[in-house]
Amino acid sequence: MTTQSITPETTRPAAKPGLRLRWLSDRLLAGTFLAPTLLLLLFITIFPLIWSLYLSFTSYNVNSDPSWLEAKWVGVDNYVYMLTTPRVWERFIESATFVVPTVTLEFLLGFGIALLFNREFKGRGLITTVILIPMMVAPLVAGLFWRFMFQADIGIVNYLIHDVLGFQPVFWLTDRTSAMISLIIVDTWQWTPFIFLISLAGLTAVPKYLYEAADVDRASTWFKFRHITLPLVWPLLLIGIIFRLMDAYKLFELAWVLTSGGPGTRVLPVHLYKIAFGDFATGRASALGYIMLVVIIALANLLVRAINRSRAAEV
């Protein structure tokens, strides 16, 4: 047998003994791996949500009612109230006044900076990293930084406006309009880097040969931007924009820290917080929370679709 020249006479070794958990089928393993995560999410996220769904149909007040079990069932009254009272609609509008300009500004700045930095230059790696620091710090901290700089008397921003440029100082955090502007500025400061990061990734992923083909074909710079850059970066940008829309809509901490939800910056989440923990109207707050959830779930759906589409395009 020719085998012998290369196969010394050893018997086929038996499998190593010991704890190998071979009886664990893939099915069982999948269940074991998934269970803790799903259970925790059910216990800490879903169960309380269902509870609060129940409460949203009661007149429960955490301060005055002895127990939630005895809270009065009021049907859809809370929802009706929340959707009909003009105060809530004002909050929706205030939220929109914040979300739309902020995300637009972040998009323009972030994409613009990405276009600017989409080239080889000295220090590119370092600069593109330090620019990202704002989005890593807590919104609370970002709020503190700027609250300090926006101080009407000793703040550096007013020093610049008044002492250097010679304009009237601005009461940044106390005036209705300028409070909103401050909020927009700070959010832009913190989250433009996010759009920048996504845009830059999109830009560097555009295959170079497309631009070369356009060069050979004598295409203009505008054509290259319009027909090569934009369509190829857009799927990613869309993901970034939807992320930002969701986050801006949820924004709470920044407004809370900057103005404590003062005039001009009482966006929806701040309003909700004040109903829940100022008035302790738990039932009503739960109802408003659910109204907010509907919007956020719609946005999340958009996001997942955008992600899937850009994944499909990658293949």
Binding site: T2, T3, S5, I6, T7, R12, P13, A15, K16, P17
Partner: protein, 363 residues
């Protein structure tokens, strides 16, 4: 060292049927090549044998024993993946030793076995490198080493040569064949390259779209393709196919556009008569069975050179005959000008006839 039998194997992924009612027997110590284009179901078949996929229907037998409930680890087969699946953080030595560590072997035994294998594959000097530091060919050998280091019941190979450049591929072909002879073990080898199939297999199974088209020795497959697909897929220069009709009165084959008529020898005549519709036939002629000449010959067709392709050891002429383009293989010394008018003769003794409705061979 086992025989492998597939019985009515079927595997679906959602709505797509990857393998459709496949039956195939591989003898102990036989080298069987399953060949087919991408998506033919070759890899799925192999993965069912390895136990990496569960068949929806049918079964896999090793030495006549159903292995349905046997896990991949206990099937005791070796598998070489197309992308080699070498562990990037382990050295070549550690990669090859990995299967042995699952068994009761001392470090010294493992070392001896790994080095024996490495020497056989001539990668002994590379054992302390990591996969990233190895060339494609060397990685390929390490992957083979990991399969060979233990003595499995069978080797399953999934396109192991596909990622090599062609010079290396040719070299590895004969080397793999030699290794199989030395190991004297069962090889179940999957490829999309008909050259590999012809050159390495004791027998070849041609698979397309999950269906087995033909099983046979390389010679049988090449000389007697069972249907149009096999005829087109096997052969380095594709077989020529010409639509024609059989005229029973004259015993002639007439081209679909009426441009030519050739007398059919008895073998083709018999074949044509087997068809339900002798008016719709396909004549198949291999490029080496076409004869070109610059002088008009008796019964020859008229054609014009469309594109000439010199390959060094032979030439391929693409010749227009009416609307059809016929590939002709000639010796390297046979030179024709571009656009030259030529006469073309088919070696009808080696021609094939297919039914155009069933696509089955009639001869």
């Amino acid at each position: 060292m086992s025989s492998i039998t597939l019985q009515n194997l079927t595997k679906r992924f959602g709505a797509t049927v990857a393998v459709n009612d496949l039956s195939l027997h591989i003898d102990d110590r036989e080298f069987v090549v399953v060949v087919g284009p991408t998506g033919a179901g070759k890899t799925t078949t192999l993965r069912c044998v390895a136990g990496l996929e569960k068949p929806d229907d049918g079964m896999v037998l090793f030495d006549g024993q159903d292995v349905r409930s046997v896990s991949p680890a206990e099937r005791d087969v070796a598998f070489v993946f197309q992308n080699y699946a070498l562990y990037p953080r382990k050295t070549a030595f550690e990669n090859i030793a990995f299967p042995l560590q699952a068994r009761n072997l001392s470090a010294a035994e493992i070392k001896a076995e790994v080095e024996r294998t490495a020497r056989m594959l001539r990668i002994h000097h590379l054992l302390d490198r990591r996969p990233a530091q190895l060339s494609g060919g060397e990685q390929q050998r390490v992957a083979l080493g990991r399969a060979m280091v233990r003595r499995p019941r069978a080797f399953l190979m999934d396109e192991p040569l596909t990622n090599l450049d062609f010079q290396l591929r040719a070299q590895m072909r004969s080397e793999l064949k030699r290794i199989q002879r030395e190991l004297d073990n069962t090889f179940f080898y999957v490829t999309n390259d008909q050259v590999e199939a012809l050159s390495m297999g004791d027998r070849i199974a041609v698979l397309n779209a999950g269906t087995l088209h033909q099983v046979g020795t390389p010679q049988e497959i090449y000389e007697h393709p069972a249907d149009l697909f096999v005829a087109a897929f096997i052969g380095s220069i594709r077989m020529n196919f010409l639509r024609c009709a059989f005229i029973a009165d004259t015993g002639a084959l007439v081209s679909a556009d009426g441009g030519w008529s050739l007398p059919a020898p008895p073998r083709l005549r018999e074949g044509a008569q087997k068809s339900k519709d002798p008016g719709q036939l396909i004549l198949g002629v291999r490029p080496e069975d076409v004869l070109l000449s610059t002088e008009a010959g008796n019964g020859a067709l008229e054609g014009q050179v469309y594109v000439a392709e010199p390959l060094g050891n032979h030439n391929v002429y693409n010749v227009r005959i009416g609307p059809a383009l016929v590939r002709v293989k000639t010796p390297a010394t046979f030179m024709l000008d571009a656009e030259a008018r030529v006469s073309v003769q088919f070696n009808m003794a080696r021609a094939h006839l297919f039914d155009s409705a069933t696509e089955q061979a009639l001869t």
